[in-house]
């Protein structure tokens, strides 16, 4: 059904998208929390900063990432010094690009759900002896779960489709950074590559469908209590 090469592209895409979305989830949640629950000077600026990867064309995001993560760049220098490694041409770099592109979508979705959480339930938890952390873990987080799930789905879908930032940042290295969209790009460069393009696109869609199905199932399980029929 799938050639060995296609399999490896699919696995790479899953790894890049999965790692990207899961790794960036805590950051996304933290940012969503700051934006939903706190007031501080410069909040609007942070909000804008989070939206940046959406507003600026992906190639520019990729270029900025390149400047930051290059061996001579501010972050790349540190990584080089501490780990003796680079993320350029590496799947970890592709995951970084996907994570950055997915971030605004995840933050918005989580923020929407956090804003809808009834604070009086958190008060009830506190009065029942739960500290802020337990309250967060047992009340806030479960009640914000629809947003977290939506964020994961949106972010993962975005990561699956991410092209411009990735190719600009970590190039198009088969087996390392050549995820599905980059493979599709390569196929598009070939005369008569349309068949391959459609095949790979269908693969993307199939993966997304499975992810969606999974998220809907989790949402249904988790929503049994909260959703009014």
């Amino acid at each position: 059904m799938l050639s060995a090469e296609e399999w490896s592209i699919v696995l790479l895409s899953l790894r890049v998208g999965g790692v990207a979305v899961l790794a960036v989830l805590p950051l996304a949640f933290g940012l969503a929390w700051l934006l939903a629950r706190t007031r501080f000077p410069g909040k609007l600026l942070l909000d804008a900063l989070v939206h940046l990867p959406l507003v600026v064309p992906p190639v520019v995001t990729g270029w900025i990432l390149l400047l930051a993560f290059a061996p001579a760049g501010p972050i790349g220098g540190l990584i080089e010094r501490w780990f003796g490694a680079t993320v350029l041409f590496r799947w970890s770099g592709a995951a970084i690009a996907s994570a950055v592109m997915a971030l605004p979508l995840m933050v918005r979705a989580i923020r929407l759900s956090l804003e809808a959480v009834d604070r009086r339930l958190e008060q009830a938890a506190r009065s029942l002896g739960a500290g802020p952390w337990r309250t967060f873990a047992t009340v806030t987080l479960p009640l914000a779960l629809p947003g977290v799930l939506a964020g994961l789905v949106l972010g993962f879908a975005r990561a699956l489709g991410e092209f411009g930032a990735t190719i600009t940042f970590v190039s198009n290295v088969p087996g390392e950074t050549q995820t599905l969209p980059l493979a599709i790009y390569s196929a598009l460069q070939l005369p008569g590559g349309e068949g391959q393009v459609l095949r790979l696109s269908a693969l993307s869609v199939a993966i997304a469908l499975v992810a969606l199905l999974g998220s809907e199932m989790v949402a249904r399980r988790a929503g049994r209590g909260t959703h009014v029929l």
């Binding site: 009086r120 339930l121 009830a124 506190r126 029942l128 002896g129 802020p132 047992t138 779960l145 209590g225």
Partner: protein, 203 residues
């Protein structure tokens, strides 16, 4: 063990001030709608911060504006039955009841559940409960949290007479045996007179 409360707080147009001198047993807060009864309970529970004054229960100072003491709600050990049930919608009745319950605590889980008549509801989601059922679960949840004092905001409203009678008896027992200080809001004079060792009129 008793309350020693003197708090003040402005909410919008309303100036809320309440003073409760030490004295054991059940203190009933009695007063017209909008007088600030719920707000006082919130200040005792640590959910609303008084502008000045103090809140002491027994030996413990929960709040003292002058001494900059302000225990967080979870450290106050209030058993708070809110005016509206405030059950956790994502947890079944059983998990709601046990939310504040610590292993090895003294409270008698089965006894409380039996007395409140909520045993058949344990596996239900809160949204499927009737008004009175939800209220009873909320009472159970507060009692099972092993509280150092009780804050009850109209706990018996929307309960039928037999239930009400049983819960009243439970409260009396708690007062008499464990000496648990209780702050009770009610609009029912007979309830107030029966339970209240002191009645604080309000507003």
């Amino acid at each position: 063990m008793s309350f020693d409360i003197d708090v003040r707080r402005r909410l919008g147009e309303t100036e809320i001030a309440c003073r409760i001198e030490p004295g054991a047993g059940v203190t009933v807060l009695f007063g017209p709608s909008g007088a600030g009864k719920t707000s006082v309970l919130n200040m005792v529970a640590g959910l609303l911060r008084p502008e000045r004054g103090h809140v002491r229960v027994g030996e413990r100072t929960l709040f003292d504006a002058a001494a900059h003491i302000d225990l967080p709600p979870e450290a106050r050990r209030a058993g708070y039955v809110f005016q509206e049930p405030r059950l956790f919608p994502h947890l079944r009745v059983r998990a709601n009841l046990l939310y504040g319950h610590r292993k090895g605590a003294v409270s008698d889980v089965d006894g409380v559940i039996g007395l409140l008549g909520i045993a058949p509801l344990l596996d239900r989601w809160p949204r499927t409960l009737s008004g009175g059922e939800a209220k009873r679960v909320a009472i159970g949840r507060a009692l099972l949290a092993d509280p150092a004092f009780l804050l009850l905001d109209e706990p018996l409203a929307s309960l039928d007479r037999p239930r009400r009678e049983e819960i009243l008896r439970l409260l009396e027992r708690l007062r008499d045996r464990s000496g648990l200080p209780i702050l009770l809001v009610t609009h029912d004079r007979s309830e107030a007179e029966r339970l209240g060792d002191r009645i604080v009129a309000f507003g």
